[in-house]
């Protein structure tokens, strides 16, 4: 295997780990706070479960797709 492919995979892998780290925070860490997200003026727990996390996931996926495209192009491994 050429080093170009190895480098491409190393970068792909670190991007994926970054995505998974952000994903874990939005999915689990935040919601572990539960009632702690609520304040008298705003239903934070309801907001995060019903809206915040979901929007963050969508942004995360689009961000991932564009970053991955850049990595593919950097090594000339994108689809022609």
């Amino acid at each position: 295997m050429s080093t170009k492919k190895e480098q491409h995979w190393a970068k792909t892998r670190s991007l994926t780990f970054t995505v998974l780290a952000v994903w874990a925070v939005i999915s689990f860490v935040i919601h572990w706070a539960g009632e702690g997200l609520n304040s008298p003026s705003f239903p934070g727990a309801y907001f995060m479960a019903g809206m915040g996390s979901q929007i963050a996931f969508a942004i995360l996926v689009f961000w991932f797709a564009s970053r991955q495209n850049k990595i593919d192009e950097e090594f000339g491994l994108e689809e022609k």
């Binding site: 994926t16 999915s27 727990a45 309801y46 479960a49 996390s53 991932f64 797709a65 000339g76």
Partner: protein, 609 residues
């Protein structure tokens, strides 16, 4: 539409734009007919007949005898439309009919489903879908079979796929039956078979190609049907134009009312609950978030199981086989998530506004605190009590409806909202059409996933590798009918509620398939013995645990109940797969090279079945 057939994919915007306008025009026409005095039943029939006919028409127009078209829609579906089709494929009867009701009755803990069923797509995008697209498989077991080699691995994957998807599809056919029975005023058992006929029309002649284009049409119907009542309620209740922003203020008001009316403190008496049977009174507040370790743990485990299930359910993964490139497979996951959010962001708002309509004494439609005779005389209360969806039991005999005396099935939050909030019947017809679209589109995807796995992987790859394309596609269609009929038969037995069966499907899939799929791409050392051990062990452990908890009366370990049995199956699968892989020989050089090929977007697909 027929004229456009040649350049159909190039004209998608025009076709679906016209279709959407046509559908809105149809809704308005129905509104006019209602105002002119046409009976409700006829309007209900028209909604169901019109939409199902359109889907069937698309299904027939998309008929094909080419295997590439039949299995992967010719791999030419643009990212946005594939996202829309995935959203319809994904959002089942459970999402459409049961989600808002679940939030209404069970409050914050139930919202774990929302988080799990959206966050799973991050795993789909980053770990699995683009690589499977590059691989070029027709089905998910096709990937497992080729990556690990050997018929046994392929067979295990087929078996898990069939169990998971079949569990899921019975719930969907059940959903079509429920909606059809309500809208058409026919018995549930008949509704189930009518629903099945519609589903088969959409998928049989054109396979994945037909299902793709009907699912796009179904998404449009279901999202319109879901959004209109919520917007209407938010505005008539005076909370604001956009329910998604207005809901937070409404939550504050609901919480005031919940405290006032005794939600969570005023529980139904044992006699009243016995009389109400399976119906439930409201005992959980809308925003009682987790406080104890156990509550947090249960939220966490449910989110995790639903996410891993999302990333291993074959009917979802196979949607990404149809995009025209790896690049677009990734982007398409983002679009799927956006289209799914269209409904999932609305469900909590619907639950909240429904609570306001029923609980707030300042709102004309409220029923809590009114006299029993007044409430039981309401037309919608009578209608839905007649079909066993709700019941008023005056537990303390004071003649006033308290919060612990009003029992309901969660499903009516969506199905009865229009009537509850006093909207015209045309909105009820629209909601019925939406629920039907949601259940049918998911059933289509599932039936196709099962039939394709059996025809491609079991029949063609294992039993008769010399079969020609025509025979294979005929076998695929016969299987589709047989599996559909079996699904309808099981659904007519009404074994579990819609949601129970759905959560089981996710756990079956993640117990058996999640790690073999992910490690197949991400760990070159994973080999056949490890994958088989992971599939059999994980699936076996999960299934055993479900049986023990659900049917043999075992006390769940640390809160891991029947909805979460993936928490048992997944670790077993992971550990077995790693240990057995390391104890046996590494995969050969050819397999390793194949994995390298999967990891880069450029170049040809790895397999071409």
């Amino acid at each position: 539409m027929i004229r456009l057939e040649g350049g159909f994919v190039a004209n998608l915007g025009k076709v679906y734009g016209l279709y959407t306008l046509g559908f809105l025009g149809f809704v308005i026409l129905m509104g006019i007919l209602e105002a002119a005095g046409v009976e409700n039943t006829i309007i209900g029939w028209m909604f169901v007949a019109f939409t199902v006919l359109i889907y069937a028409l698309i299904g027939v127009l998309s008929r094909t005898m080419e295997s590439d078209q039949y299995y992967v829609a010719g791999r030419e579906v643009p990212a946005v439309y594939n996202g829309m089709a995935t959203a319809a494929d994904w959002m089942s009867g459970a999402s459409f009919i049961a989600m808002a009701g679940g939030i209404y009755l069970k409050g914050y803990p139930y919202m774990a489903f929302l988080v799990g069923w959206t966050g799973g797509y991050v795993l789909v995008a980053s770990l699995i879908a683009p690589y499977l697209r590059k691989f070029g498989a027709y089905t998910v077991p096709d990937f497992i079979g080729t990556r690990y080699g050997g018929n046994l691995a392929r067979f295990c994957a087929v078996l898990i796929l069939v169990v998971a998807s079949f569990t899921y599809v019975t719930a969907q056919i059940n959903g079509t039956g429920t909606v059809a029975a309500r809208a058409l005023q026919i018995p549930f058992e008949v509704g189930v078979w009518i629903g099945l006929a519609g589903i088969l029309f959409c998928s049989m002649l054109g396979g994945m190609r037909a299902v793709t284009w009907t699912q796009v049409a179904q998404y449009i119907v279901l999202i319109v049907a879901y959004l209109i009542p919520v917007f209407w309620m938010s505005n008539t209740l005076g909370y604001g134009l956009i329910p998604h922003f207005a809901q937070f203020e409404a939550v504050g008001r609901v919480q005031e009312l919940e405290a006032l009316l005794g939600v969570g403190t005023l529980l139904p008496t044992a006699e009243a609950q016995a009389e109400a049977g399976k119906l439930a009174a409201l005992t959980v507040g809308i925003n009682d978030a987790s406080e104890s370790f156990m509550e947090k743990w249960k939220f966490f485990t449910l989110v995790l199981c639903m996410m891993a299930g999302t990333a291993s359910l074959p009917h979802v993964l196979m949607r990404y086989f149809t995009t025209d490139s790896v690049r677009n497979a990734r982007k398409s996951v983002g679009w799927s998530l956006l289209f799914i959010c269209g409904l999932y962001l609305t469900a909590p708002a619907l639950a909240t506004f429904t609570k306001l309509s029923l609980l707030d004494p300042n709102v004309a439609t409220s029923i809590i605190g009114k006299s029993v005779s007044e409430v039981t005389n309401l037309e919608w209360i009578q209608q839905w009590s007649n079909v066993g969806f709700l019941k008023v039991v005056d537990g303390n005999g004071d003649g006033i409806v308290q919060i612990n005396e009003f029992f309901m099935r969660g499903d009516i939050v969506v199905l009865a909202t229009p009537e509850m909030a006093g909207l015209p019947y045309v909105i009820s017809g629209l909601v019925a059409a939406g629920g039907l679209a949601a259940a049918m589109s998911t059933a289509d995807g599932l039936l196709l996933a099962i039939a394709n796995a059996l025809s491609h992987d079991l029949y063609y790859k294992i039993i008769d590798p010399k079969a020609d394309t025509k025979t294979r596609l005929i076998v695929a269609r016969i299987l589709l009918i047989l599996i559909g009929a079996a699904g309808a038969f099981v659904a007519s037995l009404k074994l579990t509620s819609i949601l129970g069966a759905v959560a089981w499907a996710f756990c079956f899939a993640n117990s058996g398939l999640f790690f073999p799929l992910v490690l197949g791409v991400w760990w070159k050392r994973a080999n056949r013995a490890g994958a088989i051990a992971g599939m059999v062990g994980g699936f076996g452990a999960g299934a055993w645990y479900l049986y023990m908890v659900q049917f043999a009366g075992m006390t769940p370990w640390i809160g891991i109940d029947g909805l979460r049995f993936g928490m048992i199956g997944m670790p077993v699968s992971l550990i077995l797969m790693i240990v057995v892989s390391l104890m046996t020989e590494a995969p050969d050089a050819e397999t390793q090279k194949m994995v390298d090929e999967i990891r880069i977007p450029s170049g040809k697909v790895v397999t071409n079945a």
